[in-house]
């Protein structure tokens, strides 16, 4: 599944990164603790969060994530969009809550890492 496929399937609003939507999504991660994402998200994961500030782009870039999805219709800050453009990280927005979105993504076959050690 590519970021593009998920955007179409789940009506995600692409805020930035239109030309980087062809990345393969390796799985998903949900967290609003940035260190947690840094510690546990995997390369190519789709990250679901409610944060809209520019630090999310740095986190996504360091972990080489495929895209960030903001929940509950939250709009990214301008700095965040600029930074995302620079770092080639797509940012998408859904009106759904994190729980609802993730439930649907899971049903569509997307998975998270099952267990982390430590």
């Amino acid at each position: 599944m590519k970021v593009n496929d998920l955007a179409k399937e789940f009506g995600l609003d692409v805020k930035t990164g239109l030309s980087h939507l062809d990345r393969e999504v390796t799985g998903g991660y949900v967290s609003d603790l940035l260190s947690d994402v840094l510690a546990h998200a995997d390369e190519g994961n789709l990250w679901v969060t409610l944060h809209i500030h520019q630090n999310i782009v740095a986190v996504a870039s360091h972990k080489d994530l495929s895209a960030i999805v903001l929940v509950q219709g939250r709009q990214p800050e301008k700095d965040t969009l600029n930074k995302a453009e620079e770092e080639h990280i797509p940012i998408l927005v859904t009106n759904l809550s994190a729980f609802e979105l993730v439930g649907r993504l899971y049903k569509a076959g997307l998975r998270g890492v099952e267990a982390h050690q430590g």
Binding site: D36, L38, N55
Partner: protein, 317 residues
């Protein structure tokens, strides 16, 4: 634990094949060279065709459309009945099970299991015969696809190897001491722009040829260290040294210092102020993340003079 590991490996391999049978279509693995016969030809002619073309069965086609299948079993039966003058029409199987070229291979495999025939004609959506598929074609198709994926992984691994040649770079130089140093200043008490040092350093190291996995570890650890500088101090510096043995990154500040380093190292312990927590930081995971990402980590602090965090990352062999 070892047993479990094995099981996972098995599981992985099975899913790879499962993936492929969903990915590939019947059309991609079928053989598109098909020798067909006509229903009015005799069984004697069939025997000659089978012998000349070295095939053990053929679709029977009349005016471009598939009307039946005839196989070596039908031929043997005709031989033993002494009925070789009969037309193929009289001996062929008329209820033919077909596959469409755009069907997933997984459906094809299901059909093999269900009917037990050895070959199935493949049609396009106009019902024109476009190929034939046997178990041999399926195995061959899967092997080819696996081989392609294997080669792609190999190429990727080779590229990775070439890029991780920092060691060789240093070996080619002669000096008593060599190192590249990068210094980034980090503002304190604000998270605006925090993370720039880590991402700039990452880009610089990438240009020097540091390989991706190492780069990712350095990026994450440096980012956490930078966030700590921005959150808890009046500002400080990130200093990176690219050395023969690996890369050393230091985060240095001028206070206020950490009163209890051991406590600060505990996962989940945090003294982060509310404004930091609101931004999703301050979960007490930073230092343990740094420890996980680096090969060696040293944290020295004194109140109120300041803190020096040293992280070492070794080149991969």
């Amino acid at each position: 634990m070892a047993e479990q590991g094995k099981e996972f490996e098995m599981h992985d391999r099975i899913t790879k094949i499962q993936e492929l049978v969903y990915e590939l279509t019947v059309g991609e693995v079928m053989s598109s060279t098909v020798y067909t016969v006509k229903p009015d030809q005799t069984m004697v002619e069939l025997r000659r065709i089978m012998r000349d073309k070295r095939i053990s069965g053929a679709p029977v086609v009349e005016r471009g459309k598939l009307v039946g299948m005839i196989s070596i079993e039908g031929l043997i039966k005709a031989l033993s009945d002494g009925d070789m003058a009969a037309p193929i029409r009289a001996k062929m199987t008329k209820s033919v099970v077909c596959l469409y070229a755009d069907e997933r291979l997984v459906d094809g495999i299901a059909l093999f299991a269900k009917h037990g025939y050895t070959r199935y004609p493949v049609l396009d959506r106009n019902d024109d015969l476009v190929g034939i598929i046997t178990k041999g074609n399926i195995v061959e198709g899967l092997l080819k696809k696996l081989e392609i994926e294997y080669q792609q992984t190999e190429t990727a691994a080779r590229n990775e190897h070439q890029r991780s040649s920092m060691k060789m770079f240093f070996e080619g130089l002669s000096a008593d001491e060599i190192s590249f140093a990068f210094t980034y200043r980090v503002a304190g008490q604000t998270l605006q722009g925090a993370g720039n040092a880590a991402s700039d350093l990452k880009h610089a190291l990438k240009k020097l040829g540091v390989c991706a996995p190492l780069l990712r570890r350095i990026g994450v650890a440096t980012y956490e260290a930078e966030i700590n500088l921005a959150t808890y101090t009046q500002g400080g510096e990130i200093r990176a040294h690219v050395e023969k043995w690996g890369i050393k990154v230091e985060a240095i500040d001028n206070g206020p210092g950490i009163p209890d380093v051991e406590l600060a190292m505990q996962p989940g312990y945090s003294t982060a102020p509310e404004w930091v927590r609101k931004l999703g930081f301050g979960a007490g995971m930073g230092l343990s993340n740094i420890q996980k990402c680096s090969d060696e980590m040293e944290l020295k602090s004194s109140v109120p003079d300041g803190t020096r965090l040293t992280m070492r990352f070794y080149y991969l062999n």
